[in-house]
Symmetry: C2
Subunit: 153 residues, 2 copies
């Protein structure tokens, strides 16, 4: 046979379903808050954050996609919207004529600065406030383990 399915035992099932419910609820809540308060989805917020942290607030599209966890296509579509909103602008890359460089505009930075406190407060309220310091530490190790595992396959 090709291989027996390694089914989940009841404990694992409970873990998986709770994790699913929790992360989905958390993301939906934060996404909704961000949409309501800042008029943008969480994915766009993260793009602006990464840009704001880059030297000169500028990044190659491919690096921005990588660091914000977007596919190239997704970023391309998002960039079109962010540019239309006046929050970023795209410049040509001097060293690679295929390249595009996304630049955070002043308006984009201002929008981000206005959105950040509310969002951070949301993350704290919905995530950190619920967990003990020990649990926060556990969650960090678990997440780092998973990231390492998922990117190496």
């Amino acid at each position: 046979m090709v291989g027996m399915t390694r089914w989940l035992n009841p404990d694992e099932q409970q873990t998986w379903r709770s994790f699913l419910t929790a992360s989905r609820a958390l993301m939906e809540t934060l996404d909704r808050e961000l949409q309501r308060d800042a008029g943008m989805p969480h994915a766009y917020y993260e793009i602006l954050v990464r840009l704001s942290e880059a030297p000169q607030r500028r990044l190659r599209m491919s690096e921005l996609a990588e660091s914000s966890g977007s596919s190239r296509s997704r970023l391309s579509h998002a960039a079109a919207r962010l540019e239309a909103a006046g929050w970023i602008r795209r410049e040509e890359c001097p060293t690679d004529r295929r390249g595009q460089i996304a630049v955070l505009t002043d308006a984009g930075f201002a929008t981000l600065a206005a959105a950040a406190p509310g969002h951070v407060e949301g993350v704290r309220r919905h995530l950190f406030d619920a967990l003990s310091p020990a649990q926060v530490d556990q969650l960090r190790r678990i997440s780092e383990t998973l990231v390492a595992h998922l990117t190496r396959s």
Copy 2:
């Protein structure tokens, strides 16, 4: 002032970003696998699972929405697609003339039965295989805490 923002310290930021990256990567991976192998997104899979576990494989739309973590609107749209695929059918509720009852068809059950082993294997490979038994236990407690916290606000 309205209130100082309780910013995240470096440790919390690292935790938050790792969690974000990990859960996003995990969901995207499982969603892609399910789409590739079973031709449906994860949300639809979960709807079919809940139906399959219900008595008589039938549930009121509102209960199905609740248990599968969908909004009513989402479930309504999804049900239309699932019905078009022949995986569920909708019947009228005898005790409440507003109500609809979603029923898993034999074809839907067969599709689910075919998809389940691959999906479960994916959950195991991408999640449980990466973590120690202690970490799995920690993750369960953390997730349950979060679920409780998120649903009570």
